[in-house]
Symmetry: C2
Subunit: 216 residues, 2 copies
Amino acid sequence: MNIGILGSGMVGQTLGRKLVEQGHAVMIGTREPSKLQDWLSSVNNQAQVGSYAAAAQHGAVVINATAGTASLQALELAGADNLNGKILIDIANPLDFSNGMPPTLAIVNTDSLGEQIQRAYPHTRVVKTLNTLNAELMVNPQQLANGDHSIFISGDDSAAKQQVIVWLSEWFGWQAEHIIDLGDISTARGTEMLLPIWVRLWGALGTPAFNFKIVR
Amino acid sequence: MNIGILGSGMVGQTLGRKLVEQGHAVMIGTREPSKLQDWLSSVNNQAQVGSYAAAAQHGAVVINATAGTASLQALELAGADNLNGKILIDIANPLDFSNGMPPTLAIVNTDSLGEQIQRAYPHTRVVKTLNTLNAELMVNPQQLANGDHSIFISGDDSAAKQQVIVWLSEWFGWQAEHIIDLGDISTARGTEMLLPIWVRLWGALGTPAFNFKIVR
């Protein structure tokens, strides 16, 4: 299917490569297409690179993989007309590095980036997921403990969440039993607020190859 | 050993009961001793109840199990003289219910309750732990998945953290391999910020009998 990815960083590139491998028609949207020449070569030019607006228009589904503090600006450039009626999978975290390491959250506690995006684009169905683990594990969950770990999903539209759960299985091999539906988009506060401990665990464990599992 | 517990809520009562069962000399500190008559009966009066100051003075180690938004006030009543030189195990979370459910955090992102307590009591060795799971599981980790799930520990004093890891094993059966040392007390930001998703998971799963496991 046609998939638009906003953001040309490691997350966008990792997701894009995996989706190209799965045979999807991927367009990555970026303000600096030249940064993606090496990536395009690495996927044998089996993908496209364009503006945020072009990528959003291209996608039957759009993935927000921009830096969280730049997401609203990127989505404005993408354009509401190119997002209306579509599912937007929001993977971004509002990490603020302006005060050095470790980062803090630019939006926190009484609001979340997921909610801000949903409020700004009421005709787009925002589904927050995959924002709580390393990009390699997002697309290869089986690489860790045979996939026996958890991700979360937040969104106001139940049908959109069910569709994303199907895609997460088809695209990356996530089993439905490992995807926990937390509820409406305000539950994105909880998953975005996992980032501070995620960053500290990265430091304590010395590797980003870990994930949360909810044991019950 | 002599253990002082500040706070007479469910967490304080659950920890107190378990520690009495282990043969420790427990005193619970509270502003309302009358609230603990039933609890005292339930432990066959094998414990004491007193003021915050009396419980802190009693303890060779002191456990803060007060409501997080009242912790600094309770510690002030406990008195620095009764806390100096001791390990203070901080289990509290600064949950703010004043705007209804779900709670938000009264201290968050650029600070934490653990840090505020450490700053206020520089001669006390604050160790934050156990604040990320249900009280029953704190004291009975084996009840869930044979104990195969994680807790975290934060503190500026490495020796104090090592001592607390030993106590967590002796008192409650926590295996050291399941206790992750995140680093200094500022890492308490990360564990306190787990509470928003914890509350949402409680709602989504319909039970508080779950915990995080860090899969690596």
